[in-house]
Amino acid sequence: MAHAYTPGLKVIPCTLLKKKRVLPIPGKVLVDLGREVEASDIVAQTELPGKVYPVNVANRLSVAPDEIKNFMVKGEGDTVTKGEIIAENKPFVKWFKTAIESPVAGTIESISTITGQVMLREPPKILPLPAYIKGKVVEVHEGFGVTVETEGTFIQGIFGVGGETSGEIEVAVKTPAEDLAPEAVKDIHRGKILIGGRHAGLSTIKKAVATGVKALVVGGIHDRDLRELMGYDIGVAVTGTEKLGITLIITEGFGSIPMAEYTFKLLASRNGEKASVSGATQIRAGVMRPEIIVPGYPRNVTECKKEQGRGWIEPGDPVRMIREPYFGVIGTVKALPPELTVIGSESHARVLEVELAAGEVIMVPRANIEMLEK
């Protein structure tokens, strides 16, 4: 049977998930193998070295670099407070005395007799690493972190902004085709993962931020609103570190696009349950999509799916068009003709025939569809 490779986002009611949680630099692992952890538990932590401030003592005292040790009041490894004198000269006339104060609180890291620079380092900052998902520690990466495993619902979005967070899922619309209006965001949604339908405008997103909603998941947003929210245009899709006061995930794309029914129903089936959410997106090497993870089985599911999606498409599969002129339209694959076909732009491309709900059959480049879960 004909089939074609196609990327698709994962929307799985229940699957075995493993999350590798590692520090950016070596540190200390705080949990043991086999331990059950909550999403907010700290599993590892490290000290991020403090910022470094160079001070050119030789220049400031007008002495040669190899002489500066004679004028240092503090030595390598000494702690200093902000404004404390670290070096001074000893002139015969007191008026000509020059004293150099430390611009920061920290320690003297090094004194160079080649350059005449003194390096001061601020105290280290503690970097805690939370488990992010509720589950069991199944692997310890010595000095770096752990792998946490859980069985649960796994939904990938297409794009997100904002980092990791967690909270209870709250579906705020009745259908996946309904827009999330600002009035629909209420005080009771504080701390929640709010699920909208087709679209959320800037006023809705702002209201959600003001209300203290942890994360907002909708079908689409307008790029113009995102720009307003961020204060700049996102040039390349590398996100996750934004400090917007909310994590925002879109499941379908930019514009006003109903959330896929399957995704919406799955999220609705986990209404009221605690989820872990990340908006981090990286559409380059090591591709990362935003995600929603709800540990545990949905009510009607008794067994976890073992297969991770087959990665290709066959006749009968439901698909969504992801480019104009059919952007957002859903249909079923009818045929996968192998030969190159001339499309509307006059390009030669591999295509597939898609049957729409009304029975109409359209021709679409294979590159312009996305597989949907049955």
Binding site: T115, F159, R224, G253, A285, G286, V287, G311, E324
Partner: protein, 597 residues
């Protein structure tokens, strides 16, 4: 391996979006590219292994050629009858390419040399640090901490000169303790290519914190640049450290019969070989999904720049951010709602492998491409300055002049040949689309021959040139370059409709072509002949390369698009008024037969 043993070659290029495979076979005395296949690059889940895309693309070649090349996941070597290949080679730009940070003592001297060295090796330069780069010292340290390059090139000072600046930079580097981009557990490779008298101090400072490699100074004296030893080290480290960390690359490295090259380094190699063989001034561009590379050879001097975030898919939104919506909209002969355009471009960014299905969508991509090409070319012009490239001589006064005036080596009037590659130029449904996109973006002047690398074969051929230069050049001339034709664009300005040039083209064995060019018009004529003689007589105030009003005779070539006489003047500006702009765009696109209808 000798050419005698080399009869069947498989080559792939793993791009950030697509992996492309080609089959090259020796037919008589000449190598020809015979079949090609492509597949999406598989760095994304569920595969996260670049070799899957490689195997998929080779499978397509197998299916089309009937030659069995794969035994499971292995390439069959050597070739026997209708099975196997003698060698498999590959380039790669997937995984974000090679990302480097460079440092030099003085920004316009060793800083610039270090930048050219890294760019020539095929790297993306994330930042250039220098003692006089205008940033406070703590800002430099913070910048080193933030960026996570694949490797760093540290230069500074002439041999035997002062060591203070370079030691200071090394101390900043040590204090910042930077981490490599891929894999937190290995040390960041740092290449030191600065003052040879500072080597011991650099070892003492960085020896235990980084994977330090010491090589020859890239600027042994103010008058001399020596980039090759450091470039070789960059390639070595790219293979030994960086590639080992990327998904699936350790497996790919075991499959190839020659070292994997960064894609831009391979394209640069082919550009240089072509320019040298023909004695041309050449401009080559590769516009990809994430980045746009520009290569130039002027008077034998090679330069390369890469615009890391100007591309047609992953970076399409950044083109919009950098140039502004108005500059994209100005190329469209129809109205588009701003919100709709923004959403479309963002949707391309988040689903980078989709392709335009309608003419309108295609025209939007062509508009973005013009801007990406233009911005990347501007960056190229600003770096391809003063120096004479890899091994060059210049006096101190030249160096000062360079920083003061920033004289670019790029002279459009002296440019002989433009080669376009990358999906948007090479896969355009009509060749005239690629031709006008490049004419618009570069504002070509005088007489310029133009070609496209139809299936983006320059990377494959560049890496193949390591094994067999003959095979690479054979395929380059016969199968890679698709001649588009020649652009004739007089420099000068006049009133619309005014006569600006008379011209005549003599084609051997065919009827001569001749006519007049009026200001504001584009004339597009079919011309397929590989060579023809042009006589152009611009009116006073217009220049075709010999000065205002001076007659020019030149060899030109025809091709799949033909002859384009661009009478829009230089410098070229689009009308500001919307209606007028749309009128002229429609007129020009119609003259070029760019779009149906």
């Amino acid at each position: 391996m000798s050419d005698k043993d080399l009869e069947v070659i498989v080559a792939t290029d793993c791009g950030s979006t697509t992996t492309k495979a080609i089959l090259i076979e020796k037919k008589g005395d000449t190598y020809r590219q015979t079949f090609r296949g492509e597949a999406p690059t598989t760095v994304e889940a569920p595969f996260e292994d670049v070799t899957k895309g490689v195997l998929n693309s080779i499978t397509e070649v197998e299916e089309l050629s009937g030659r069995r090349l794969l035994d499971g996941e292995k390439i069959i070597t050597p070739n026997e009858g209708n099975t196997g290949a003698d060698i498999y080679v590959s380039t790669s730009s997937a995984g974000g390419g090679l990302q480097m940070m460079v440092a030099g003592a003085v920004k316009a001297m060793t800083g610039e040399s270090a930048q050219r060295c890294a760019l020539g090796a095929g790297a993306i330069v994330m930042d250039v640090l220098a003692s006089n780069d205008g940033r406070a010292d703590h800002e430099k340290i913070e910048r080193i901490r933030q960026l996570r390059p694949d490797m760093m090139l540290l230069s500074g000072g002439t041999d035997g000169g002062t060591i203070t600046h370079i030691v200071e930079l090394a101390q900043f580097l040590k204090a910042a303790d930077p981490k490599p981009r891929l894999g937190a557990s290995y040390k960041l490779p740092v290449i030191f290519a600065g003052n040879n008298k500072a080597q011991q101090q650099i070892k003492d400072i960085l020896g235990d914190r980084t994977a330090l490699i010491i090589t020859e100074n890239i600027r042994p004296s103010l008058e001399r640049e020596n980039l090759m030893p450091a470039r070789h080290k960059i390639h070595d480290i790219f293979l030994e450290h960086v590639m080992q960390q990327a998904p699936g690359y350790p497996r790919l490295m075991k499959m190839v019969g020659a070292p994997i090259m960064p894609t831009p380094a391979a394209v640069g190699m082919m550009t240089e070989k072509f320019a040298k063989a023909k004695n041309f001034n050449v401009l080559a561009v590769d516009i990809g999904g994430a980045t746009t590379d520009v290569f130039s050879v002027f008077s034998g001097v090679f330069n390369r720049t890469v615009s890391a975030n100007l591309g047609m898919s992953y970076s399409i939104s950044n083109v919009m951010a950098e140039t502004g919506l108005a500059n994209i909209l100005r190329w469209l002969p129809f109205d588009v709602d701003e919100q709709d355009l923004r959403n479309r471009l963002k949707n391309k960014m988040i689903r980078p492998t989709t392709i335009p299905q309608t003419i309108e969508d295609l025209q939007i991509e062509h508009a973005v491409a013009r801007e990406a090409l233009r911005l990347a070319f501007d960056q190229h012009k600003s770096l391809a300055v003063g120096l004479k490239g890899v091994q060059q001589e210049r006096s101190i006064s030249d160096a000062f002049e360079q920083t003061a005036s920033g004289q670019s080596l790029i002279n459009l009037m002296r440019l002989d040949y433009v080669i376009g590659s990358g999906g948007i130029l090479a896969h355009s449904p009509r060749r005239t689309q690629s031709m006008l996109m490049m004419i618009d973006a570069y504002q070509l002047e005088g007489v310029t021959r133009m070609a496209v690398d139809s299936i983006f074969m320059m990377p494959h051929l560049g890496v193949l040139a390591q094994i067999s230069e003959k095979a690479a050049l054979d395929v380059f001339y016969n199968d890679c370059l698709v001649r588009m034709g020649t652009c004739l664009a007089p420099r000068g300005l006049a009133k619309e409709g005014q006569l600006i040039m008379e011209w005549e083209v003599k084609v051997p064995g065919e009827k001569n072509l001749s006519g007049e060019l009026r200001f504001g018009d584009i004339i597009h004529l079919p011309l397929e002949a590989a060579s023809a003689k042009l006589t152009a007589k611009p009116v006073k105030g217009f220049d075709m390369g010999a000065g205002s009003g001076s007659r020019v005779e030149a060899d030109i070539e025809g091709g799949v698009a033909g002859l384009v006489l661009d009478g829009r003047g230089r410098p070229f500006e689009l009308p500001k008024a919307r209606a007028k702009r749309m009128d002229v765009l429609n007129k020009w696109y119609k003259a070029m037969e760019m779009y149906p209808g």
